[in-house]
Amino acid sequence: MKNKYLVLVLVLALLATFAFTGCASKETEVTEPEVTEPVATEPEVPAEKVLIFARSGDSVSLDPSNATDGESFYVARSVLDTLVDYEVDNTNIIPALATSWGTINEEGTIWEFKLREGVKFHDGTDFNAEAVKFNFERWMFEDNAYRYPGENFEYWGYMFGGYPGIVKEVRVVDDYTVQIELFTPSAPFLSNLAMPSFAIMSPAAFEQYGADIFKNPVGTGPFQFVEWIKDDKIVLEKNENYWGEGPLLDKLIFRTIPDNSARLLELQAGTIDMMIGLSPDDAQIVADDPNLDLYLRPSMNVGYLAMNELKAPFDDVRVRQALNYAVDKQSIIDAFYAGLAEPAKNPLPPSLWGYNDNVEAYEYNPEKAKELLAEAGFPDGFETTLWAMPVARPYMPQPKEIATALQQQFAAVGVQAEIVTMDWATYLEKGQNGEHDTYLLGWTGDNGDPDNFIYVLLDQDNANIGSAGNVAFYKNQEVHDLLIAAQIESDQEKRAELYEKAQLIIHNDAPWVPLVHSTPPIAARTAVKNYVPHPTGGESTFWQVDIEN
């Protein structure tokens, strides 16, 4: 019965539209026999498929080469492509904008990439070898004309050791062949190129937007950028001319909802379709809800407390070790991770090759901590600051709570820490400037190579004020030599050995209190299909995600 009425209404509506359009053009051509046909086709017009993805913080920049935070990469991954990419659920390299590659000289310092033909940027210009060269030179050279004030290209520095770092030259061989020559061979080079920071943007867009490129990204990805309302949402729409498979969605919207529980309530209400930054406490609620699916991202991260060695008393190794002894990691995990984490003792996660399991973790021992502090000249402890990030991170779903717990544990050994927090972009910036005493942060691996953890986070090359990835400002020549040797070495077993040695030295120098390796939970409505959480956390699989309306 109801269907009959629906059909009737549709027929009437169609008649009306026909009548009106008829009136507008030629009245005589209004014919009746066609009436039933359009009714049959009406339900086949698919509704727009929109997926709303919610997270706790907004992107810092939509130009990923100038971002270091996951929030920025989530969006960049869908708009821009890199030369090579990772498989959907691991960090093995697959072709993306480059279809094949290899080193062409004996030392392994010249890489040649064959590029995909017929790919167009969202602005309609061609993707070719010139575009690749353009982007690389922008990242490499500090005097490049397309480097705008305030742009630091931190990741380029982290991964390639400076500007231009290990990259000597980028050469255009022909329209679809590009050569990259390095000063020294680099084992993680290819894995590095798959990182979202080294995504190719349209050179024409730089002419059009200039310094505003950071809020107008133009790439070749499955989705193109529509608008960014700061601290509210970023809207992307389907790229009809995408070179790869998909996308199945018409629109992809990234919303910022800072509060974890508010985000979950919205998910349950159906106003958003997916959320990251689920409090582990709420994971059970999601698992029990028939309308929601719980996903667990494979663990490839570390959450840590960095102690700024540029500031007293953290220049004293005994103080740093004391704080390591003062922290009860297990109680923090039980309280704030609902068991979805394991205590950390190294900067590397155990899932990565090169992890040194022989390192003996600093046990929870407040007495020992007090002894060390007394030895270092602080029998009554000292006052310091504890910086806590304002947003939920995959490796730290409740930073403020964890900071409060740490504050109590430090107080138990006499160290009075004041918790300091500010907005996310400022937090990162001040951290890079070394303004903190102790600083909570973490890292989700970008490319499955240990270099991406240890070199980025603890090498002296990355302890430069203003762009530091090494926010402990830890400098050790021996570690540096080991890490550089590991970059040049191509044999993975030998590399693993070098990383194991480096981890032992780092353990003894204790620049961090390594806290946890977490397994971040993600929640989505059951209508969301084909979603695969990637270990790197850079949501790169939205091209294959579908949603049932």
Binding site: D281, D282, A411
Partner: protein, 292 residues
């Protein structure tokens, strides 16, 4: 007032305050307000003796315990006793009330007296400045001030104090304007009293009633505003057991531990209610038109 007592030939020498209290006693709601305020003050003073647990240090293993005999209001996400934190929170609230209202009172009264007593250009300048401040929504102005000073409990108190200056300035000014016209002021001027003497000896004492009412009412709103700032993370920083920040911290656990959200909220509500009831009662009691 005194004149009236004399006229009635009352044998009992009742002062202004005794009289006020007598009238206050007649209103049940204001007595209830007074009771709440007294309990709050008592709690604030004796919190360390009353609190069964440490308000700052908790045991993570005991987090989100339901209310029980041991923890009568349950525990929060850090395993701290909510009841003890509420008791200590009363201290912070009283502190906020006294300090921020103190700031508003001193600066606002000074501005109001100067502007009302001298009049003319001084009056115009001071009052336009007050108008500008009044043009901002209080919480917004407080936010701006805290953002400049940096988030901390002290700065939140200062901010709340500053945003409440205009209320005092206006009220004091209008009282000064009416008091100024009295003959005893004229007399004081004629015997050569200095402006300072006139203001402190003759004008201010006669403006006391509205200031008192305003102070009581403002303590309520000040506590609320400071709690609001703390809720937004701009006031008390962890681990201070301030009610607003307790509310903010517990908000994420509304489902797992509703008690940790409920009790700080109730505490804020009751306290503000207490001050408002008392303030209203005082206003009535001090209103000269309501004299018997």
């Amino acid at each position: 007032m005194k004149k009236k007592n004399l006229a009635e030939g009352n044998n009992e020498v009742t002062g202004l305050w005794a009289n006020v209290f007598k009238r206050l006693k007649k209103s049940k709601t204001s007595m209830f307000g007074l009771l709440i305020v007294i309990i709050l003050l008592f709690t604030a003073v004796f919190a360390p003796l009353m609190a069964p647990h440490d308000p700052i240090v908790g045991q993570l293993a005991l987090r989100h315990n339901e209310p029980s005999m041991e923890y009568i209001m349950g525990t929060d996400s850090q395993g701290r006793d909510v009841f003890s934190r509420i008791l200590y929170g009363a201290r912070i609230s009283v502190e906020i009330g006294i300090i921020s209202v103190g700031i508003a009172l001193i600066l606002g009264t000074a501005m109001g007296v100067v502007s009302g007593y001298y009049g003319g250009k001084v009056d115009t300048i001071v009052m336009r400045f007050v108008d500008i401040m009044l043009a901002f929504p209080t919480i917004l102005l407080a936010l701006a001030i805290v953002t400049i000073l940096g988030p901390s409990l002290t700065n939140a108190m200062i901010a709340v104090g500053i945003v409440n200056i205009p209320r005092f300035a206006r009220i004091v000014r209008s009282s000064v304007l009416s008091v100024k016209e009295n003959e005893y002021i004229e007399a004081a001027i004629s015997i050569g009293c200095t402006d300072f003497e006139i203001i402190t000896r003759h004008i201010l004492p006669n403006c006391l009633a509205p200031i008192l009412v305003q102070s009581t009412l403002t303590i309520g709103t000040a506590i609320l505003e400071a709690a609001g700032l703390s809720f937004l993370g701009l006031g008390a920083q962890p681990p201070i057991s301030e009610w607003g920040s307790m509310l903010a911290d517990a908000r994420g656990y509304m489902r797992q531990a509703p008690w940790s959200v409920m009790y700080p909220g109730v505490a804020i509500m009751i306290t503000v209610l207490g001050f408002n009831l008392l303030g209203d009662g005082l206003r009535d009691a001090l209103d000269p038109r309501l004299k018997e």
